[in-house]
Amino acid sequence: MTSKIDVSFEVNGEAVSGSVEPRMTLADFLRDEVGLTGTHLGCEHGVCGACTILVNGHTARSCLMLAVQADGQKLTTVEGLESADGTLHPVQEAFSRHHALQCGFCTPGFLMNVVEYLEEGPSTEEKEIRERISGNLCRCTGYHNIVLAVKELAERQA
């Protein structure tokens, strides 16, 4: 078997290190080795967006990254959104209030995408919002309430 490579990075403010096969995806490493299972795998070919995390503040599909590529980076997963005292992140709170999740499987990926969008200075135009979240697939909500949640967050920021 291929020799393993040491990696160390920061996840949600905590230092993480491990020894991985070069082929191991970042998503599998986060889920199976670090135990952060909030990052979900919906397609493992970079389309559905369920595995979206932040790498140095920017969205990335953790199914398309290898664990070794994360060496030295700062990662944020869905587990890093909530405050230590259990207060939900404004994006989480808006999703709940607008019933923007049903089965919840795609939700972590949407949340991470929207967190980045809000950082970038979001549009309040519905068409723009739909375009911006179109890289994440959801089969339950029809996106209607997700759009409402994002629109409200964007308007609050405008």
């Binding site: 397609c43 070919h45 989480q92 019933h99 919840g104 029809g142 309430n145």
Partner: protein, 783 residues
Amino acid sequence: MTYVGQRIARKEDNHLLTGRGQYVADIRLPRMVEAAILRSPIAHGEIVHLDTTKARALDGVVAIITAEDLAGKVGPITRPFYKTIPDHVARETNLVVRPYRAQLLAEQKVFRVGEPVAVAIARNRYVAEDALELIEVEYEPLEALTDPQSALREGAPQLHPDVPGNIHCSFHTGAGDIEGAFGDAEHALSAQFTVGRSIGSPMETRGVLAEFDRATNQIVMWATQQKPHLLRSYLSEMLGMPEEHIRIISPDMGGSFGGGIYNEEIFIPFLARQLGRPIRWIEDRRENLGNARHTRDQYHDVDVAFNADGTIIGLKDRFLVDAGAYNPFVITLSYNTAAHLRNEFKIDNFDVEGICVLTNKRDNTPVRGAGRTSATFVIDRIVDMVAGFLKLDPAEVRRKNLIPGELMPYDMGMLYRDGGRIVYDSGDFPSQFDKALALADYAGFRQRQDQARAEGRFVGIGISSHVEGSGFGPHEGATVRIDQSGHVIVHSGSNPHGQSHETVLSQVAADALGISPDHITVRAGDTALIPHGGGTFASRSAVTAGSAVHGAATKVRQKILAIASELLEVSQQDLTIEDGRVTVKGAPGTSLSFAEIAEVASPGPGSRLPEGMEPGLEETDYYVPPTVTYSSGTHVAIVEVDPEVGTVSVLEYFVVDDCGQILNPTVVDGQQHGGVAHGIGNALLEEVVYDESGQHLNPSFMDYLIPTASDVPPVTVEHESHLSPLNPLGIKGAGEGAAVSPPAAIANAIIDALRPLEVEITQMPMTPARVWRAIETARSNGG
């Protein structure tokens, strides 16, 4: 305060938003190994050589399993996925059903691309997949049947020895006098329709984790399963174990829009027992798109008889279902199509024949809409064709044929699959229709359409309406208990995969008991909770689980009142329950809390129960529906077509639905939004494509397109609530209906947009290529 009908916040959200959900793939057990499955690369053939030696030798491999290892120990699956069809249904529908036999792993032959051939079990999924590459298999290809027409032709190979002519099942039924209707009618027309194959495609792929405990001889298994109790009964039978020794847990599920029992759910627990190690198998997306069961895929040949004023007096349909390799749901899907073909229309003379034909493709089984999407596409296109033939506005012809509100409940003159007569129990279709058209501003749209046409834009409006036999039996169960702290626990036999059971069932229990939902915990998705359960399918949970929770909670309430009446020495009529306290009317100081009553009701010497009463505040209720209840809806789509490239944009979408008593409007709205998006996918994007050799050509999200946020418009939803007389709360199912109408509404809207060209559409999905071709055909015909 009444909780049913309120927009109370979901109990499910917090753990799902914070990454604390527990889906099957999130669960790891000590000593767990992982499985990967070698699947057939061809559609039909004999296995002439199979060698697993190299794979077995790979470091990290625990076992390589083929059919030989299972022979005589487990499998095949021979019981179809439903209870027996009642005799009178079989008789009246001229039902013919051939045996069902599905091999767990390919024995000698493979019958479809993707059929499991071998299982690799290894240290982790990576190594298991490495092992698959080392398994040597040679196939001798046989002729593949890839559509029902070729499977029916003279001289076609017969796929299974006990299915002559490849017809797995068929039925022929109807109502009224079909020949008389066609004899009397002023006009008749014929049309053929093709409904493409699609797949439910939940965001979570399927998964199984099974553990066998040698100490207690028990299997515990986590599975993405809509029907955990049904799976337990299959395992009990096939593994030869008492049901009590098998516990199925359906944890958080990332959607699931159809299903049944899968081979992996049988052989993985079998192997976990055999090998004495927990085994996890998580499907990848390629496997999911090819191997989670498919749906729709029908070919209809329709005749309609009508008069010059647009009144439809007779409908004939003979349809073929491309049932795939095994057809485990037998007539479920096809009979649903037949039962819903007339939808909201009063067509008293009806003749329908459904034929399920086996081919070398994946099974064709119920997925959200379950046969109704196909039925609705057919009938709504037919009604608009009648309007087109008579040069009448489609809305006028549709409204003329709706069953008038004053005729409800209306007997459609034939049987439902469960043995009940098809009697629409409640609703007012013309009122629903008028409301939908007003919501969409149908009259005003015609003006906007003229203006758009003047600008060279092709916009159109289309209507579709449907009914849905919802709340299918045979039963659903619930247990309601009040613990010593006064907290309420509800155990449901129906488990959710996104439908908000925790929230809505707590609302039902709260009203029946007289306590806030905040003091209620709902648990589901575990066969250890309750002996019998149905599950979530057939838009049934609000109806059946809702009624069972209502029944059990009502029994607990009666017990609470009986105990309080004794303790407080007043008659039960003089007691009220509010906020978890029983109070004497007019004497607010005299009351008992649920906790105090629970203490009195506990077993033991301190118990002060009325004589003869069993200890404990716990009751179970099994709700057995008399037959299904009929929810309904009318949809209006507004689309724009680009005639140069054939693309269709859905600009606006309107829904008026009737699901009787709404448990939580926010949840129902969400179901409508999601259903419409699913239906838009079916209408415009989604098609599982096989080539003529039976190769599955689009097993990825790059090629099989499910709608993104940019593909669906905002959806405006309004409700009518005509209560069902069939269950105590008047509930009708809301989960699937919204997925039923979009293809029909959108097809009609496309035709309306292209009215000047006189385009005809008879096939879904309406991909850009097909729309473009329809336009070209119309143009070359001089349209």
